[in-house]
Symmetry: C2
Subunit: 341 residues, 2 copies
């Protein structure tokens, strides 16, 4: 059986009514609120069909219908439109994401904050992988008491730092080493540095201190994979605003899952190629996230895919609006980071 025009209209009605009320939707409600030009009985028949196709579900016999994961999927793919954000939302985004806060970290943090506020959902921001980013400088700054601050800075403005103990470095040696390192590596991408045999050169330069070499090495590797999985979450409490999380245990499960790096990693890896997509309920394949949907967008940074900005909320989510907001925010982030204006 295929989805004719009217079935799609009924699907839209069910999904949108359910999104609005969080109550199972009955045929009478649809007949009253949506002008389909047919009687409740007809709508009932259509709904029975849609249930047969696995797009709707019935909590119990005498309740209305609720969209299934596959139902939401049909809604997102064939019915919903990415909505142009309301004027005040646009202004909100513009007034908060601007060039003043041009550092990657702050930009992401601010974006998460306003996204979670606007959507009443949880926002999850993943920093850019620096693998394809071009190295600008490696700084070795001597501190008191035999410590050295190692800084790796990319052309795009990513900074990674780590402190390391290297007692007894001959004076001047750090400067020499850092000059050498920079002569060698400046202008290469992090991946190139990591792949090539250049790392052995690094070790040679820093031979008087294996520890320091390890740290530089580690920092490069970390920024390659990247700083990536240093993700930030904002608006965690928002999850609890939604009636599907009236039961604390559910909210707890979600928040605990999102606190685990590996789960988040896996979740985001599941996203298909496109720049803006949604994972609905069990599509995310994590048992703990079954009650949630995730809408996620890739942002570009330095001309390459940078990281991801995602919105996590109940499956019963206004996908059109959230996708619109997410798109707007992503574009704003790109503009700021890439210094367009």
């Amino acid at each position: 059986m295929d989805l004719d025009e009217r079935k799609l209209k009924v699907m839209r009605a069910v999904v949108e009514a359910y999104i609005a009320t969080a109550q199972p939707v009955g045929s009478r409600t649809i007949a009253k609120e949506f002008q389909l030009g047919v009687s409740p009985a007809t709508i009932r028949n259509e709904m029975a069909d849609l249930e047969g196709m696995g797009l709707l579900e019935q909590p119990h016999t005498s309740a209305g219908r609720v969209p299934s994961d596959r139902g939401y999927r049909v809604y997102v793919d064939r019915i919903a439109r990415i909505a142009r954000p309301a004027k005040r939302d646009l202004e909100h985004v513009r007034s908060h994401i601007h060039r003043q806060v041009s550092e990657v970290d702050s930009v992401l943090r601010v974006s998460g904050k306003i996204l979670s506020e606007m959507t009443d959902c949880l926002a999850l921001m993943v920093g850019p992988e620096a693998g394809d980013a071009i190295l600008n400088t490696i700084e070795l700054v001597p501190l008191r008491s035999g410590r050295v601050m190692v800084l790796v800075i990319t052309e795009d403005g990513l900074v990674q730092s780590r402190m390391v103990d290297v007692p007894d470095v001959p004076p001047g040696e750090l400067e020499r080493a850092s000059r050498m390192l920079n002569d060698y590596f400046r202008g290469m991408t992090i991946s190139q540095i990591l792949e090539g045999s250049s790392l052995t050169a690094l070790r040679r330069e820093l031979r008087y201190c294996a520890r320091l070499a390890d740290v530089v090495d580690g920092l490069l590797k970390r920024s390659a994979q990247g700083e990536a999985m240093d993700y930030v979450i904002d608006g965690a409490a928002n999850i609890m605003k939604h009636p599907e999380f009236r039961d604390v245990a559910r909210a707890q499960r979600v928040l605990e899952a999102l606190a685990r790096r590996s789960i988040v990693q896996e979740l985001l890896d599941r996203f298909p190629g496109g720049d803006l997509a949604a994972l609905i309920g069990s599509e995310s394949a994590s048992e703990d996230m079954r009650e949630c949907s995730v809408v996620s967008a890739v942002y570009y940074f330095g001309g390459r895919p940078g990281g991801r900005i995602s919105v996590v909320g109940p499956r019963r989510m206004d996908y059109g609006r959230v996708m619109g907001l997410l798109k707007t925010v992503t574009e704003a982030v790109e503009d700021v980071l890439d210094d367009r204006d």
Copy 2:
């Protein structure tokens, strides 16, 4: 009426039984579980007295007693002892907080993680204020397309960075400026720099770019107050493990409160001088935190008070154990940061 020996014993019994069971405690339970050598009737009389003194409360006539905020206060001040952590907890701390992760940020993050795991509470970590820290270096690193990465590094290893647009800087000017800045300021504390007239010197040095001067200025100010209120929260979901937060709305209120910088600031400002202290329920004076207690410790960094590590949980909290753990973690953090071993 004063608190004689036996009243204190009854208080201990009520608090500890309530901590263990989360159920109002009756006289019979106390008589059975704690060896006070008196009958339930006597205990009932004592409990009535304690209620009269405002240390116990009765949810309703035929329920047992529950400690009031003032009751917990008496327990913490006069009854509980800071407990030496269990062997496995000690090992847990030692195995996770070690010299490998010597960067302030990571140390705090890790500490928060293990604290929240061990206590089933929420951990709140505040970074060190750098006001009294000694400046090591101000780096101005030119990036592509007229951007400059400004780095402020203190002797203790705090790094603050910000990116700024400064088009059309004459080549060599950045180096000159940074050399000058460092000659001027290296070795001074951030506060000294901010107080003295030195800032005007800064502006003179950077006169060809007001924007850059603003940024350096801003970064210094920010690290003075400090990076301070860039706090990190771990184990937010733990709050929901406790029966007093079975009602989502309560958990939500707490998490929302803790997401607000100003509330957290205010909360922590309320702590008295000591290095390890607790705020119980309404003592924190924030309506949203009424259901919570906060145990907080100052850690020292570079010989001065650095920041705070705090544990937020239900008032019904094992204060002795939490304080012991917090003390242990704080000391471990100090050891790592100050490079004792």
